[in-house]
Symmetry: C2
Subunit: 194 residues, 2 copies
Amino acid sequence: MAQRDTGTEQLIKDTAKRIFFSEGKLHATTQDIADAAGVNRTLLNYYFRSRDILFEQVAIEAREEMSAVLDHVFTAQLAFKEKLQQLINVFMDQAMKFPYREVYIVTELNRTDKAVPEEKKVRIKAFLKEISEEMDAGKIKKMDPRQFLMNLFSLMAYPLITNCLNKSIYNINDNEYLKLMKDRKKLIFEMIYQ
Amino acid sequence: MAQRDTGTEQLIKDTAKRIFFSEGKLHATTQDIADAAGVNRTLLNYYFRSRDILFEQVAIEAREEMSAVLDHVFTAQLAFKEKLQQLINVFMDQAMKFPYREVYIVTELNRTDKAVPEEKKVRIKAFLKEISEEMDAGKIKKMDPRQFLMNLFSLMAYPLITNCLNKSIYNINDNEYLKLMKDRKKLIFEMIYQ
DNA sequence: TTGTTGTTTGACAAAAATGTTAAACATAAT
DNA sequence: ATTATGTTTAACATTTTTGTCAAACAACAA
């Protein structure tokens, strides 16, 4: 396919991701993406054949990027406590850059009525087991381990999705918001781990 | 305007809300909404003039419905503990019905590049003050009260937004999911209030 | 240089979504 | 029954978005 790699294909995908995941413009058109990338719209068809294929490719890579982060932390040779700290650190850094990534994944699934892709559940199950053991050891409050994971991801992801609302509600500017989000890393850890 | 109220205007809005807030189909067209409501698409223009006006009206009412719930609980004549329990109970019931309501509000703001509407901050400020007092009284962990509120809403809202993903990741069906969400009410309260 | 191949562009075509209009319809009042 | 008024519909028009194609362009090889 791409014999002379001009970087255009990657540029288009990166731009699409910026618009969708960072700016949260889920209704962006192919023209919007082309303009933002500074390329002719026809190139989107040249590299991806159709809008739907491009959008799905972006969704697929979003899921892959997500799994990659989680797998990396889940399989790290670390004690649970350190794993947790690293997970919070890495995930929140990504969430601050791409706050709407999960929202994009979900809305694309809702839009296309496509079956939810079966996740590789081995890593998750192993981590759920670790969580259970930590509960037995009294390091974290006893509950359904799935609830524990939902709590964790909720605390990390949601405030960034509702960024614009929070800034209005709590009367804070960009800098202060950034500080609040950085503080959250420590706060979340202390909240779920004694 | 509506001398003979046939209920059509309300039907259109209710249908739009169902599609946007419940089904999470944020890319729905006017035709999609008309079909789902079982009415001629022209009626959307008859009652709302344009698509944009309808969509903004829906967003405005979404914010109003949200504030209404919060205001009601915030100003209730109850002790903080009971207020919190009621808030969790009422908010999660709504979130289970309309999981994507906040997402709709946010994406409409991002789509239209409209200024974030200034919220009535009096009630919020009063509640933030109550939270501070509760912290001083040792009933909740000390932190920035805004973080406390973010925690609370994150824990309530996020798992419902990611419903379809969670079902795949944790291998659960609709019924089990419903039970998990009901259990969360108690779980969230115990997590943030000693 | 010339030919080859992959890339980019503009003009055009097609499809999808939204908006407009006149006429049909229904209901209530005269 | 007839008129008046608000509601609904179908046909049409417009705008927006997406897709196609041939030609121009750029890099590389023979």
